[in-house]
Subunit: 241 residues, 2 copies
């Protein structure tokens, strides 16, 4: 959140003066037909009004009327591990940052660093989602929109998020399990297949496909750039006017 | 966070016009000595400039220059259980809300509802404090100030908070252990004395007094109202100008 500096109010006063005094000089010239006096009146006006404009700005800064609270949204990326959620979410975050709205990026990995010892059982995951929901809600209370990417394999936890937050937009990053396995640069699928990782969504734990996602990205057919374009278009149409 | 509505820009244009046209009429009258023409010029100016002012406002809304990011602070209340931390913090929060700054209240109890199963051992508490620190940091990134009340009995976790967040103000709510016991409306001191609650700060676990608190409130000598006044004065002096 920002507030106007004194300098900004002065510069606004000066830029306004360029428009306003030009108009005054033209009006006075039309009425009296004397350009010399019109210009003299313009000069006198300039000096008196820059100060007046500054004072007017500072007074309005104290007035709350006519200020609309910015409506935050939550982009919730769900999908199998290595489906491409984080990559698309990162790119979307970068684009949204250009719109100059208050924005936070929440990613599964970073959050698990902050809140350690969270298990991967159904109950653990659901409890973890509840915490994330609380964090998003707290940020939304302060007009901050969020770009969140979590595997979030269970429908009840995605439902809990939807109930906790405002303007929830589920983006289902759909990828074939074989595609994800082929992308296995972290070696996590291999470990899961060997049984070294338990409760791994898509291998030895269920991933329940979202049925009511606002946006579905089929990564087998859609490039990252195309996905970003689709999501940004959706946000601009519905939330950032 | 807020943004100006169209209506606000129009009303600003009208209120400005009252000041500005009055000045113009006076100036024109001084130069030409004819009040009738001065008023006619003023009327013509009014119509042309309200629209011009509105456009000028909307253009400036797109310009970022001269907007200063609001600097957030963290009021961190520490003290024995039932020392009066939450009561004072609640009252301070209410007062600060009047200053129209982005603000969140974080209380030990509410957070433990959201992040359950957090133990009370030294290690558990320190890890818990690290999470709270992360939450405050995320809020501060978005210009949100915080009023936090946690027993936070160990110096290392208070130090960790100080290192993680900006503009940290420790308020040590000092109360004699006997006073806290006498206030034991929750019956927690009794349970701790009987050994039914383990790791209870002040009874069967240490409370390490903060040595570098920015503000110390001695609840045996200071009323809640006086405490609030001291803290608000400190905030106004140092953070909200």
């Amino acid at each position: 959140m920002y507030k106007d500096t004194n300098k900004r109010s002065v510069l606004k006063g000066l830029s306004w003066r360029v428009f306003a005094t030009t108009t005054t000089v033209i009006i006075v010239y039309i009425f009296f037909g004397r350009l010399d006096l019109a210009i003299a009146a313009g000069i006198m006006e300039t000096f008196s009004k820059v100060a007046l404009y500054w004072a007017h700005e500072r007074i309005w800064m104290k007035i709350k009327w006519g200020r609309k609270k910015i409506e935050p949204f939550n982009l919730w990326f769900t999908g199998l591990p290595l489906s491409g959620k984080s990559t698309i979410a990162d790119a979307v975050f970068e684009e949204l940052a250009k719109l100059d709205i208050p924005l936070e990026r929440l990613d599964s990995k970073d959050i698990r660093d902050v809140i350690p010892d969270v298990g991967f059982s159904r109950e653990d995951r659901n409890r973890h989602m509840h915490r994330i929901g609380h964090l998003i809600k707290t940020l939304q209370n302060n007009s901050v929109s969020t770009v969140a990417s979590f595997v979030s394999p269970y429908k009840e936890s995605r439902k809990a998020i939807r109930e906790m937050v405002k303007n929830n937009i589920v983006v289902y990053v759909k990828a074939d399990i074989e595609t994800c396995k082929a992308r296995d640069y972290k070696g996590v699928y291999e470990k899961a297949l060997k049984g070294e990782i338990k409760n791994f969504s898509g291998i030895n734990d269920i991933y329940e496909e979202p049925k009511q996602a606002e946006i579905v990205i089929d990564t087998d057919k859609t490039s990252v750039e195309e996905a970003v374009a689709i999501i940004i278009k959706y946000i601009k149409k519905n939330y950032v006017k």
